[in-house]
């Protein structure tokens, strides 16, 4: 898949928070085969720096997508994005504007506003949004070339809460890269997202908080590859009636 003109080596994007240690994070990145990792700047960069941790991330050689996690207004998100560009030397930004403290649901109004400001400043914006089609339109109008609808609330591990909404998104935006961001708990959730025709999946907690994060990273990568292949292979339609897979013609009949 291509985003902002860049070919991604993998359809799995990986978050870097909450791992038991940076060493396990590095191993999980490697096992996942991901070509894009997100990193939160906000808390770490407010004062001082998280340089030690960022150096360990850079060691992996994987492209970094800084995010604006934890920002609750467009202005805050814009400032954080500008800071991230300085720190990481990239104009790619995962835009999060949180509207609801408990569900961490995106504030789509602030999101569109921040996306417009950042796009005008040359940022390549990856917006964390809902499956709302109109919001998707507005984000594209604002300059986004990719949409990242949630599967379920961040960190909830509930899987795809609204698969029909995602399916509608795929149908409505056939040529826009769609990345399911947030809510993935198990490999089957990731595979389901890919079977819907999503272009990629972004996940974090499901790997970081698994008992064996490195093993789960590999499992997610395999599920995403399988789900995508299943989508490309044009699966059969579901039927109500059983159809024997072995022909019955020519079977011996006893009269």
């Amino acid at each position: 898949m291509k985003v902002y003109g860049e070919t991604m080596p993998s359809r799995l994007f990986l978050g870097t928070a909450q791992y038991p240690s940076p060493a396990i994070l590095q191993a999980a990145i490697k096992a996942s085969g991901t070509g894009l990792v997100t990193v939160s700047l906000r808390r770490e960069a407010a004062h001082g720096s998280g340089a030690g941790f960022w150096d360990l991330l850079r060691e992996t050689g994987v492209r970094i997508l800084p995010n604006t996690a934890g920002c609750h207004s467009a202005r805050e998100a814009v400032t954080t994005a500008q800071m991230a560009r300085e720190v990481f030397g990239t104009d790619w930004i995962k835009l999060e504007v949180i509207g609801h403290a408990d569900t961490l649901q995106p504030d789509v109004f602030g999101l569109v506003e921040a996306a417009r400001i950042l796009s005008a400043q040359g940022f390549k914006v990856f917006p964390y949004t809902t499956e709302d089609l109109v919001v998707g339109e507005r984000l594209l109008d604002a300059g986004c070339e990719v949409l990242m609808p949630w599967g379920a609330p961040i960190g909830s591990g509930r899987g795809l809460v609204n698969p029909d909404g995602l399916r509608a998104m795929r149908a409505h935006f056939p040529d826009v890269p769609l990345v399911v961001d947030a809510g993935i708990g198990r490999p089957s959730d990731a595979a389901a997202a890919m079977e819907l025709g999503m272009d990629a999946v972004l996940l974090n907690t499901a790997v970081a908080k698994a008992g064996a994060p490195v093993l789960m990273a590999r499992a997610m990568a395999e599920a995403i590859a399988a789900g995508r292949a299943g989508y490309d292979a044009d699966p059969m339609e579901r039927r109500d009636m059983a159809v024997p897979s072995t022909p019955v013609l020519g079977l011996a009949e006893f009269i």
């Binding site: 240690s21 060493a23 808390r43 004062h47 001082g48 340089a51 030690g52 908080k209 008992g211």
Partner: protein
């Protein structure tokens, strides 16, 4: 004569281990006041290897086991266990924590109330790690320093270490390759109305916290984990999270006096485990991360082994080539 840089937790523990083997030891400490620049001041002081196993590797259990008796020779160790609880809506956190750990029994509401009456009626399910313990970190540092001096060791306060020392224990100030800072923020409360005797951990999907009784109505509340080398005071958000969690444990904490807030930088290596390594003729003990009091006994003894040239007896993980 063995010279040590840094009279924090690691430096003092190593001095103690060396003195007990008959070495003579001088510890250099930049700060004028003992412990003033030591991150151990902000520690919880939990000896909780089984709980820590939730996110740490097996070494915290295998190396941490000797901490109980080691510390008991030096300072009071309160062997009252750790009680792990979660609010009703976060019950799945208990299941996850239980799957990652061992050496506990599950407890119901009545058992929780029997262990800690202050939690009565508030929590219906928990885990009790009976073998765990806690100590008072500041008292432990003082007691350890007193032991070092009683055994004939010299602690030179206000004296930066010379260029070349035998053992470097300067924590985050050592600037070793691969060593990073993980910032932790804490608060000290005084709340005599709430009587809690053992370490509590409140599991929460966003901000797990622990509360360690310090005696005399005092409680240590900790701690955040931020990938940052910022040394300034705690942020409002960190304190909100800590205070909110204390309030969830028992609303009577609303009346607690906030005696102190603080922040420190934990030195950590990429695998979050400590290292004992030789560089240019100096042995470095560093990277104790959030397991200082738990792991320093094993590491200090291993360091003393190396300095006294008894390498074969080191734990395998810390043997140098």
């Amino acid at each position: 004569m063995i010279t040590i840089a840094g009279a924090g937790l690691a430096g003092l523990a190593c001095a103690y281990a060396l003195l007990r083997r008959g070495a003579s030891v001088t510890v250099f400490e930049r700060a004028e006041v003992l412990g003033a620049e030591s991150v151990a001041r902000f520690a919880g002081g939990m000896l909780a290897p089984w709980c820590e196993r939730e996110s740490a590797q097996e070494e915290v259990v295998s190396l941490g086991g000797r901490a109980f008796d080691w510390w008991a020779r030096i300072t009071p160790v309160h062997r009252r266990g750790t009680l792990v609880v979660a609010l009703r809506r976060d019950q799945s956190e208990i299941a996850r924590f239980g799957r990652r750990t061992s050496a506990y029994r599950t407890v119901n509401g009545a058992e929780i109330a029997a262990l800690e009456p202050a939690l009565s009626g508030r929590f219906q399910q928990g885990l009790f790690f009976e073998q765990e313990a806690h100590l008072d970190p500041r008292r432990a540092l003082r007691d350890l320093a007193a032991e070092v001096q009683r055994l004939g060791g010299e602690i030179r306060l206000g004296s930066p270490a010379p260029q070349q020392v035998d053992l470097d224990c300067r924590g985050i100030h050592a600037a070793l390759p691969g060593l990073r800072a993980v910032r932790g923020e804490m608060a000290l409360l005084r709340c005599p109305e709430v009587k809690i005797r053992r370490t509590l951990r409140l599991l929460h999907p966003r901000t797990p916290i622990y509360l360690v009784p310090r005696g005399d109505g005092h409680y240590m509340l900790g701690a955040t984990m931020v990938e940052s080398d910022h040394v300034g005071p705690p942020t409002l958000r960190a304190l909100m999270e800590l205070m909110g969690a204390a309030y969830a444990l028992n609303p009577a904490f609303a009346e607690a006096e906030v005696v102190e807030t603080g922040a420190g930088l934990r030195p950590a290596y990429p695998n979050n485990l400590p290292r004992l390594e030789r560089r240019d003729g100096t042995l470095h003990l560093n990277g104790l991360y959030r397991h200082g009091f738990l792991l320093v006994p094993a590491l200090a003894e291993a360091a003393a082994d190396q300095l006294m040239e008894r390498r074969d007896e080191n734990p395998r993980e810390f043997r140098t080539a």
